[in-house]
Amino acid sequence: MEPQGTDVQANKVVAAGAREIRALAASARAGDKEAWSEIHARLGPMVHGILLVRVGRGEAEDLTQEVFARAMRGIGELREDGAMAAWLASMARNQAAGYRRSRWKFGAAVLRLAGMKSSASNGEAKRNGSPWSGDEVLEVIRSLPEAYQEPLVLRLVSGMGGEQIASALGMTHGSVRVNLCKGMKLLKERLGMEVRP
């Protein structure tokens, strides 16, 4: 079934975005620093969202910068310019895995930062008119089956649409849609919201 109506427009937006990313990746490969800034602006939220599933909020901010720094170094490893988003997503997962393996080694520095950030987080909680704080929502998302976590964070935190998520994660539209819906259903249940079939 072909997309129609508003979805046609959405597909155009996504397709145009993909073309632009491809062009930006080509420019970045050629050494254009401004292209990197634009790539960061467009794909940074996605990278941050993927990291957010796996590491703490403060660490996700820092590791997002690290992912892009690594990408700048390793742009030669990107085989296909059109795969920039998926490549960054993969780097983000690897970065998070490496961080989780080693985070205990950072000792006092981490504890100091954790103390500062937990204090900040507590002050932030439940001040946005929502019954839950961001951390509470994130905690519940992390308790869901793994397949639902990334799509939900990219949708709810990064503000990406289903097609953008599918493109970034290298998944079919159907898989993303199912994961989003099943994940949202579980999320609502665990947040104590009314769930209707």
């Binding site: 080693s102 001040r127 946005n128 709810l156 990064s158």
Partner: protein
Amino acid sequence: MSEMQPPNSTPPPPAGAPNGNANDRILPAAQEAYLWDPASTPDTQIAAIERAAAALRSRSAPGAVARRETRSWRIGMAMATAAMLTIATGIGVWTWHAMGTRTIGGAGTTWRLVVGTGVRVGEPVATKSALFQTSREVTAGLKELELRSGKNSVVTLSPGTRATIYEGTNTGPSLDVRSGTATIRTGESDPAIVLFPGRDSARIEPGSAAEVDEGKAAPIVRVLAGTAKFVRGKSELRITRGGSMIASAADETGLPWFDGETKQVASEAREYVRTLRGKFSPQSRESAIARTLDEASAGDAATLWNVMQLAPREDAQRIGERIAVLLDSGLVKKDAMDYTRREVREMLWDEIVAARTK
């Protein structure tokens, strides 16, 4: 309820998606539509979760993934909420961490700051209390900004400079200079300044001592004594001692800090850069590696790690083993790890970082 408010046009499932039959639906149609397309009519339940999740959004990312114009009002709301949260959080953290915060200048003149405290410069409260929130952009409206962390470190941003201060994960605060200039004066290890490849430059003034660390993301410069000046847009690093330049690197490749020779530049006349350049000529590789490994001490582990990155596979393994022995952490066993694998190298780097932070 939102379920009673159908979207303007419920989008059909895209290719490969479930067929959208009501019997196959996991959520009400309106919720599925909004979940798939944030530009469609908002669902109240999902929107409530989104509002909570908005607090998790990246604060350092300059923009968001391309969205439709129709979402702009909600983006604006989210940004306004984030700004309010930032102010509230800053005040809370400041209250908790207020010791040592002092104002040394009036509005728009000079600010003295404590890392991790305060609110964003440019906000009304900032003109009164001289506080600054890390991970926030320094904007126009101030003549000079000083960042204090640790015992003696001070960073001064020239008028009109745009920069972002990050708390970092293992090195303390770092400064990303986006335009203009920033000066870091006598200090200890904090704050550090992150140099982005091909974009930033650092010049350590005569008589100064500084250390360049690769960091896990980008090179980080720590000024041990004297003054260093960082300028965006020029890729150059000069470290001088007693008026003589002992090390420099120019932007020839666009990624000057990752050429393997300037990754680790120790201060105090170690001259790693020149030494390594001399040792690693193709003609004398074997003897150079053997000599380097033999002479290396624990303090050279980071340098060796960088050499390992460049070395051929057969050399990388023995360099990695040497680093493991030098660190003597008991966590990386000799002959038990494959240092040609990236993840193993990263673990080894983590060991180096851990040793440096002890």
